[in-house]
Point group: D2
Chain length 300, copies 4
């Protein structure tokens, strides 16, 4: 597929390294960002800057969007000078943002009417996955379109799974986030319990991390909690955005998620404390506050 | 250490294969079980049956207990004809049950007064770990005593960690169970959400299991939930017992565990449905009931 | 104030009896409803039907809206042929719907720019309060405007409190609903506990209703739960709408509401069971299902 | 019934004023307290002090116990020199403590074997109710025994209801506490929400207290929360004891109580902050902490 120009809209923390990986894979890149300065950085590395999402779509048969939330994708695709105004015949919009499955389906429908296609392809793996090209990518949309775009995904990710029709990529990402949030909260409760019982937290993690209690969250974020390292791999306020999407989708489907709803409320306390820009692991601050215990390594 | 006779009290589902692994490692075994028939089975394989916990302690410098709950350990150790009445000078009681840290410390104190030692050494890994000798063992007690008994542990387990003084093995096991319960509940909520959204559950698990959402519970119990296989690796009612121990210890220490408390209440609904003897993964039945969805593979 | 024509938009279950009470108080009424047939019923009783919200506003210095949700008020006020297009100089829009405080403030701001005023005046008391003219009305907006409209409110309600500027009426209504939902859930848990313990539920309510455990919900809805009477005073799905408004406002303000969020999830199970049109007291169905108990009077 | 000597065991904060009300009603009183000084205070007012619960029972056909928890009642009744050793033929033990229904039934069974009777008669109404003789009393036990003792109850309380056999008085009290705890938590969430939205809290309470949102907790404890008055009417740590009894009984019966369990966890945070001796209304401190808001009247 190289030689195909790829459009990339949304050059934030995640988008920029993902775009770079496409350039490394020798795709000609046409970029657009609301804040133009970020596009210029990539332009100096060889990308071409466009003046609107429409122009990106006019110049590229495949356009990727990587923005924050449902209204952002709607603005960039359906809004004034949006992708939909320039979509090529048989062109593909790949939305890699995490947004509402329902909004996704509505956008796909609009594009279809104009002769275009859509894949929803949200990612998991955080900044490190974006930089190293090892993201997990969960793709919804037509199977044939997915197969056509597979090389593009392979330039950015490792585990790439076609999970169903439009919206199912987003559903899978939300499933991912239900798991992430619930598991992380269990890690927080476990460590605060251990701390107040006087345990050596590093030894505790070591003793349980490889068995039935083991998880990515425990092995990767547990030690950071113990060290008091709250730098963001993934920001708490973005986790909150995802939890909002989950709970909205669940409400419409009438799926009770009592545990997930609880974690959403606990993160609100973290945000109330002004710490929404810290990493998700900072949730332990709320549990420490409630239990009146430090829950970190001695001397730190 | 082989040649040292080991006493083994409590020949239930877990205890019997653990005792067999000690025999495979050539330890002479003296066994006792309240229901004598279970001891006879092992006697036919070469163990010697004793008539009381006291007699076991009189004949063995190391005595293992593997029973259900705090009162069971108290009965066997401190009760009439209990271990404490026969404990040898410098003898060691290794309690591998999962019980209260506080009760553990009280028993250790009693044994110390009689010149004995105690290690609390609860295990994780379930029936399969017990059979294959790959249990995780979390040990509390004096370091020297732990080191003396290490070969005994190695006959039964793989990850063996000394985590602190008496009671800290139990604290670590409870930490393990906080993690297990919270993670499993997240798996249930994720799969019910996915099911109601029309996802292919096996593909969904495949797409997320290796990333930040991954956990032992998801990879091992998720597929069983999807297949409707609720046979017990670890019984729901024993998980409830452990959650009770956790919440009692947390109450005494004033550690709020809102997520763990919620899972305990959800399991109560499973027990109310008469399913306490099913595996912990049967918790998804409660979420399926609440969401009004099957959450299992088509055709099963 | 009588002789002043009052506009009334939204002639649903609550709106119709409220409008009738204005007519009883001798206010000339100009009515509009999306489904015109409902307006015609009132027209036969003496009201005049208008063809659009704009026309209502052109003809009346005070316009009341009583619709379902934020988008409905936005449509009727700010949409095509909306109230704002016809608002008189110094005219007042009284929105008696329960909607978002934030949307309320935005609409008030728009009306102010056109020389109009707004009061947000949501009500509590249900169908019976609407019919008997005994609603509680919580009013936000300018004090002077409130005083000018007080006679209008007095035709419909009994406890009428000016609680602050625009949006504060809605905030107070949401506060009301946090209380209603949390108290009702406690009633459900209490009755299910009592039922499973074998208590006589009517005697139990009698024994506790007048003391520290007493509440409107217990005294009014408790006996209905016991009788299995789930006819709506206030529909579960409208309670869910209000809980959504509460949790959205709380999210924006970073106020954790763990108990309220839990009740919202439990009501989702009631909706999943297809019972959103039953009364709020039907929440006990979910608790009965979880506990596996009937929780109602013998023989019913 | 006056002239009948009444025994009273447990002269704490509640017990002392209750005993005084019996003296006011002209009952001869025989008192016992573990800490003898408290008995002496009443002795100076005309009561006779006994040297053991047994002696109290030997001297009085009706013996009241008012102590803290299940083990305390067991000690005083079944322990060395306990009530059971002195119970008269056809004598009655009235336990007015709040304890486990199950323990209650076991004690009643023991007394029955010795020819005695038991009534479980826990109270609601707090210190003020004890002093003013207006307690609510929920009585379990044989109807005939209840009727015989009714005058004794009438000297101490106002709403006196016979709710069923032994243990049902305790069940009813636990029902009462489920209601109290859940309702109070709703009041806390409502006020914190209102505070962060900038509402005038006293006006807010006024606007909603008389309608569907109204409760004893809101009307009596809401204003104290707003004033920052956390003096105990009923101590948080005793509420925690009652919540523990509720959750233990619920666990044995398999009744999920997710809302009640949540409140129990939130109170644990209050205890972790060293405030278990404050009144139950201090729970709002936890919600204020989580929301990062004061939730009290300006200037206080």
């Amino acid at each position: 597929m190289p030689d195909t120009p790829i459009g990339f809209i949304g050059l934030g923390i995640m988008g920029t390294p993902m775009a770079r990986n496409l350039m490394k894979a020798a795709y000609p890149l046409v970029v657009y960002n609301r804040t133009a300065s970020k596009a210029q950085a990539l332009a100096q590395e060889g990308a071409q800057a466009a003046s609107s999402p429409r122009e990106v779509a006019q110049r590229c048969p495949v356009v990727i969007t990587m923005v924050t939330d449902s209204p952002d994708v709607e603005a960039v695709v359906l809004g004034k000078s949006g992708v939909i105004e320039g979509i090529q015949a048989d062109g593909v919009l790949i939305d890699m943002s995490t947004i509402s499955p329902q909004v996704t389906r509505a956008i796909a429908e609009q594009l279809r009417k104009r002769g275009g296609h859509m894949l929803d392809a949200p990612v998991s793996g955080g900044l490190w996955g974006a930089q190293s090209g090892t993201l997990a990518i969960m793709v919804g949309g037509e199977k044939g379109v997915f197969e056509r775009c597979l090389p593009v995904f392979q330039a950015m990710g490792k585990t790439i799974v076609h999970v169903g029709g439009n919206g199912m990529g987003q559903v899978t990402k939300l499933v991912n986030q239900i798991l992430v949030a619930g598991t992380l909260n269990a890690v927080c409760e476990a460590l605060v319990f251990a701390a107040k019982a006087g345990a050596d937290l590093e030894k505790t993690i070591e003793a349980v991390a490889e068995g039935a209690a083991g998880s990515w969250q425990l092995r990767n974020l547990g030690p950071r909690m113990v060290r008091g390292d709250f730098a963001p791999g993934f920001m708490a306020r973005l986790q909150q955005k995802d939890l909002r999407l989950i709970l909205e989708a669940a409400r419409e489907m009438h799926v009770p998620l009592p545990g997930t709803a609880l974690v959403h409320q606990l993160y609100a306390a973290l945000e109330a404390d002004g710490r929404g820009n810290e990493g998700t692991q900072a949730l332990i601050r709320v549990h420490r506050l409630l239990a009146g215990v430090e829950a970190r390594k001695k001397g730190e």
